[in-house]
């Protein structure tokens, strides 16, 4: 296995506690950082080539340098720990196993940004992780790592954990900010971006848990050294949460650039498809990225082996490629129904739409209902085109990217697996006890 910078030392005793974390070299990065100038840290992060691990992959150093600095106005750092994308469970794992790396990252990043207050916004369902973080923060306060004059540097910092109420949409950064302010979690209309007007209308940086944690090894080893790991613009290590029909599901830290084939079949990682089945498809970056059939996930359309990097996975655009996204790697074997899987994803987006804008509010529910029809054996060929048309009318026409997140999986499933939809149409009513199904779901047909 390659180098591990985030989830190393998990086997060391008491790594969850401050003492155990310190014994493995914890908080030395903070010590180093507090002796640097804030701009120097930003510079190191820029050099490291670190990109946002929350899904969009935006260069973190650049994001930090965009933050507005009007005099006399406080700035905030917010950590996005709302992790709710189906298939993604790396942030939870990291916070649970090594809470102090996040806290250390928060203090260093806040110092770099000049923020005296920062927040961790955590998903409501992860209550036990909330308690782990609270405990770790208390330890840090007691040791003088948080609060006034941290390690004698003159830097004051307060860190709060805020618990959401369990809404996927509150992972969208502006909805998160609204929710943090105590309002309904509706995404804001941008511009203005959080870097100019974020929490309490003050300049704010929102970063993913893993992004912030990665600032710790970057500070320790220096940006240049970190940038040597990986390939091209995909530098460093990335946590991948692998799930589905594989022998060894779990969270893996990889050096970006591992071939996809190796990641799936090597015993170091997923260990191949379980029960000796063949692989059918992979959703490489959390439920919202396009699904790819086996041949396209292992090799690009040009026939080059696909690598676990932002660029390689995106090679070919959406016609033949996908995205690294948040690193939720879902593998499906030959027995999986793409249509049923798609229905499940679509049901999720329908349930999680905030309902502000019409295409997403109405379109997601409509697509879900049509997909029901396929499962019931009630669909006709024209429903495939209708689905295609609806997703196209949602994509790019909404306030926040949840609209796209709902549209892309539908488009990709039809693009690569159209014949399977047709199969559902042809086999008709044999698919299921339809009446029972409708009764169960309180639905009516026209």
């Amino acid at each position: 296995m390659g180098r591990q910078l985030l989830i190393n030392d998990l086997d060391k005793p008491g790594i969850q506690t401050l003492e155990g974390y310190k014994a493995c070299g914890g908080y030395t990065a903070l010590d180093k950082a507090l002796k640097m100038k804030p701009e120097e840290i930003v510079e190191e992060v820029k050099k490291s080539g670190l990109r946002g691990r929350g899904g969009a992959g935006f260069p973190t150093g650049m994001k930090w340098s965009f933050i507005a600095k009007p005099p006399g106005v406080p700035r905030y750092l917010v950590c996005n720990a709302d992790e709710s994308e189906p298939g993604t469970f790396k942030d939870r794992f990291l916070m649970e196993k090594k809470p102090h790396i996040l806290i250390e990252g928060m203090i260093i990043s806040s110092f770099a940004l000049g923020a005296n207050v920062s927040y961790i916004y955590i998903r409501g369902e992860m209550m036990y992780v909330f308690h782990i973080l609270e405990k770790a923060i208390q330890e840090a306060y007691d040791a003088g790592l948080l609060g006034k004059n941290i390690m004698g540097s003159g830097f004051d910092h307060d860190l709060y954990v805020h618990c959401g109420a369990g809404a996927y949409i509150c992972g969208e950064e502006t909805a998160l900010i609204e929710s943090l302010e105590g309002k309904r979690g509706n995404p804001r209309i941008k511009p203005p971006f959080p870097a100019v007007k974020g929490v309490w209308d003050c300049p704010t940086v929102v970063n993913n848990v893993e992004t912030i944690a990665a600032v710790v090894p970057i500070t320790t080893m220096g940006g240049d050294e970190y940038a040597k790991i990986g390939i091209g613009k995909s530098t460093g290590t990335k946590l991948i949460s692998a799930s589905g029909h594989i022998n060894k599901p779990g969270v893996y830290e990889i050096e970006l650039g591992v071939p996809v084939e190796e990641f799936i079949y090597s015993d170091k990682y997923c260990g191949g498809i379980r029960n000796g089945k063949k692989m059918k498809a992979v959703v490489a970056g959390g439920s919202s990225v396009p699904v790819l059939p086996t041949d396209l996930i292992l090799k690009t359309a040009k026939g080059e082996p696909r690598l676990m990097t932002y660029e390689s996975l995106a090679d070919g655009g959406f016609q033949t490629g996908t995205m690294l996204g948040s690193g939720g790697f879902i593998v499906m074997d030959e027995d999986t129904s793409i249509v049923k899987n798609l229905w499940n994803f679509t049901r999720f987006y329908h349930h999680e739409s905030c309902g502000q804008c019409s295409p997403c509010r109405e379109g997601t529910g409509w697509m879900e209902k049509i997909l029901h029809k396929f499962l019931d054996g009630h669909a006709s060929m024209s429903d495939i085109d209708l689905l295609w048309d609806i997703q196209g009318k949602i994509e790019g026409k909404t306030i926040c990217p949840l609209g796209e997140a709902a549209a892309w999986p539908v488009a990709a499933a039809i693009r690569h697996f159209r014949s399977e939809f047709e199969e559902y149409v042809k086999s008709g009513k044999n698919m299921k006890d339809v009446k029972h199904y409708y009764r169960l779901n309180n639905l009516e047909t026209a």
């Binding site: 809404a167 949409i169 309904r184 209309i189 329908h350 349930h351 999680e352 739409s353 905030c354 309902g355 502000q356 804008c357 019409s358 295409p359 509010r361 109405e362 379109g363 997601t364 529910g365 409509w366 209902k369 209708l386 009318k393 790019g396 026409k397 909404t398 306030i399 639905l443 009516e444 047909t445 026209a446």
Partner: protein
């Protein structure tokens, strides 16, 4: 100042003007329809997506086109910007899509809806929608509730434009009105029914683009096109007192604020919107309460003014139509057949 070109018409507008307002100052067919934006309500707009336009040139400085369609009501013009609205087939297609989305769960109960004739969704459907629906599932419904003494909420008709929420926020201090739940079951609510109790709350009815919020003192009294609008005023210490009375015969059936061609409340003074209080709206229904100014000029571009209801188009001539109505005790009132002729 910024120079912007919309569908080939170039105009110069102050910096910070939205594309929609720039288009409105040009006027005519190129103005994108707006279901949620309301110039008199801060932070309104951005929700419905009917006003989407294509920016094919960002600005003089940065001529790159914008990658996605933008909401013209929430996007400011830049100097040198080029915008396509009705000249872009993609935008027309996208808009038809939005209209379809807005209608799939709408009850289409226009025949019994008080808003019919004044409804922006009706207009939108006529002008930008398609004739047939592709939606074949049960439509969502909500129970009708009373919010406050005067207002009926018919959530089933709501398009979640958030305008009434902004009225509650900005005109009615101590608001108890907002949105609960999410996604396609989100609803406008006071949570505890009957709780909207503020003397400006009636303005929610005026801003509602559809028939979701209706005036309980007017419900089912008459089709709006059978009533005759007259401008009037009175001295009122709570509001501007400048209203529009809707007569049937000599009876005042309804009192509303005065609206401009975009269906928004008119300004009574520079920058001061003519919101009216509940007293004027619900309690002053005698002619004697008012100083009559004269017939209102309705210039809102609407289903009625677009003459969709014109009898010639219905292939009936007026006489024949009147004959059909004879003996049915329908009081047509003045201007019934074409309100533009008042």
């Amino acid at each position: 100042m910024a120079k912007v070109t919309i569908d080939g018409h170039t105009i110069e507008v102050p910096d910070g003007t939205t594309i929609l307002n720039a288009a409105r100052s040009i006027g005519g067919k190129i103005v994108p329809p707006a279901m949620c934006y309301y110039s008199k309500l801060k932070t309104s707009g951005g929700y419905c997506r009917t006003c989407l336009v294509k920016v094919s040139k960002g600005s003089e400085k940065d001529p790159r086109p914008m990658p996605k369609p933008v909401a013209s009501c929430r996007t400011n013009v830049m100097d040198g910007m080029v915008v396509e609205n009705i000249t872009s087939p993609e935008i027309l297609e996208a808009r038809a899509g939005v209209v379809e989305f807005l209608l799939i769960n709408h009850p289409l109960d226009c025949p019994i809806c008080d808003q019919a004739g004044e409804c922006h969704l009706q207009d939108l459907g006529y002008e930008h929608g398609k004739a047939k629906t592709r939606y074949e599932f049960a439509r969502r419904t909500f129970v009708k509730i009373d919010i406050g003494e005067y207002i009926k909420l018919h959530m089933t008709r709501c398009i979640l434009c958030y305008r009434c929420v902004k009225v509650a926020e900005q005109l009615c201090p101590g608001r108890v009105h907002g949105v609960i739940n999410r996604g396609d079951v989100a609803e406008i609510s006071t949570y505890i029914q009957q709780a909207v109790d503020n003397e400006m709350s009636g303005n929610m009815i005026d801003v509602c683009p559809v028939g979701a919020l209706t005036d309980k003192t007017f419900r089912f009294k008459s089709r709006v096109w059978f009533t005759k609008p007259v401008d009037a005023h009175r001295k009122c210490d709570k509001c501007c007192g400048k209203v529009r009375l809707w007569f049937k015969g000599s009876e005042v059936l309804r009192v509303t604020a005065r609206k401009d061609e975009w269906g928004e409340v008119e300004d009574v003074a520079e920058g001061k919107a003519g919101w009216i209080c509940n007293d004027c709206r619900f309690h002053k229904k005698e002619v004697n309460d008012w100083v009559i100014e004269g017939p209102s000029h309705i210039n809102r571009h609407s289903v009625i003014s677009a003459n969709h209801y014109e009898l010639s188009k219905l292939k009936l001539d007026t006489e024949q139509h009147l004959k059909q109505l004879e003996g049915k005790k329908v009081d047509l009132g003045e201007g019934a057949l074409n309100p533009n002729n008042q």
